[in-house]
Symmetry: C2
Subunit: 270 residues, 2 copies
Amino acid sequence: MATGRTHRPATRSRGIPEATVARLPLYLRALTALSERSVPTVSSEELAAAAGVNSAKLRKDFSYLGSYGTRGVGYDVEYLVYQISRELGLTQDWPVVIVGIGNLGAALANYGGFASRGFRVAALIDADPAMAGKPVAGMPVQHTDELEKIISENGVSIGVIATPAGAAQQVSERLIAAGVTSILNFAPTVLSVPEGVDVRKVDLSIELQILAFHEQRKAGEGAAAAAEAAGGESAALPLPQPAATRAPATAAAPPRKSGPEGDVPAVMPA
Amino acid sequence: MATGRTHRPATRSRGIPEATVARLPLYLRALTALSERSVPTVSSEELAAAAGVNSAKLRKDFSYLGSYGTRGVGYDVEYLVYQISRELGLTQDWPVVIVGIGNLGAALANYGGFASRGFRVAALIDADPAMAGKPVAGMPVQHTDELEKIISENGVSIGVIATPAGAAQQVSERLIAAGVTSILNFAPTVLSVPEGVDVRKVDLSIELQILAFHEQRKAGEGAAAAAEAAGGESAALPLPQPAATRAPATAAAPPRKSGPEGDVPAVMPA
DNA sequence: GGTTGTGAACATATTCACAGCA
DNA sequence: TGCTGTGAATATGTTCACAACC
């Protein structure tokens, strides 16, 4: 059951636009790097370049947070780091559980930039009894039976799902019932969650398919555009040949519309 | 020196809006599931629910592809699978290389939904000589020295970067010089690439920080909203206590603006 | 009757361009 | 003079609501 939606309906939480929120971590990372190099101030232009956006966008983004810059000078790096951290809620430490300790879960557990950036891995959880007790990233894996206890004892409100697709919905339900209200989902499924729960998804094959779409387009028509502005270190891009440049070797004739007999090409074997 | 941007400037490739392109894989996945259950047709309403979007959006998205539905009936599942696959360029097989075979790279290599969905792992590449020859996901890891040869011999145009952040820029340059024009970047860095090259990034800590932002907001004000529509199996959400409900235990007094002396709170240890 | 396809209305996001201030 | 902060202009995305059609 639960026909609920997946992303909360863009509530424009307090005034800061979603698009801006999504870029704050980027700015924060760039600022942290500057801070480590003891750079005292940056201009919007410099910071924007470091974060990979344009400066008008960055200035507008910052304007939602307040007036933290100095005209004619730029932004104080340390001060901005603090303000953005606070805005993102990183001045407190968020305990996080990772459910599903396969290759991916282990990779996530080992990910360094975790603890350092406002998050703490409270537990690693897996359904396989054989995994229980085994140390991953210096931490014993715990069995799914303990899930509810772990969540409530540690006050966990953010869960990461790295299970197979089939288990994800059920895991999310248990997490939510136990008190989790934000989920980062690596499993390739749409999660149905009640209102008030945030879900973000990370999906390899979706990303690849989006890239494939643009690749196809490049190969198709203006295959010149790629080489065009190739200034820099790359000498003469050899214009890649993606297997067949644009001849669908699979799939013979596209079935004519409204003919659901069944002789349709078997794209997508499963 | 490449001051280039990261995402291509939303070229509205051929007419299909980016936002629509980003959802096509979602529809495709839902349709594939229906196809496996031999469901012959779906309404926009049903399919939208399965994909986690609303039906108006779905219909508008499909309208960019053409008129593939039948009024009063719905969409023919097989036919739509074919059309979307074709639109995404999945009727051909894209060879892909994965660079950086650590935990994450291995996880990606083992990801099943790879081969089945229009992509083929052409090679696994790692800089560590000790890895060379070792089989991962039934495939020998090859050394970075071979990168250029692998790319050109296999006509690879899509590369996946799963290296540490420090190596990512350089790897991307080599990939691009060798002919890659689309990159999926898992390393937490902004890549500078020449125009014509597409980069998509997947970044754990950015996603977590976005979730933290919304979490903080929930905890702050209307902490009631979460419990509100909690219909279903979850009995009485216990309103999680995220460490400190809203008291920045770290960071004492926010440094006053334009005071770059250095007594700024040490948020973000690194 | 039921469902698609789509203009029109609305909402969000980006970019421009410049006034205002250090 | 140099840079921020922001209104206004534009572009993109979403939703509504209904005519067209099966």
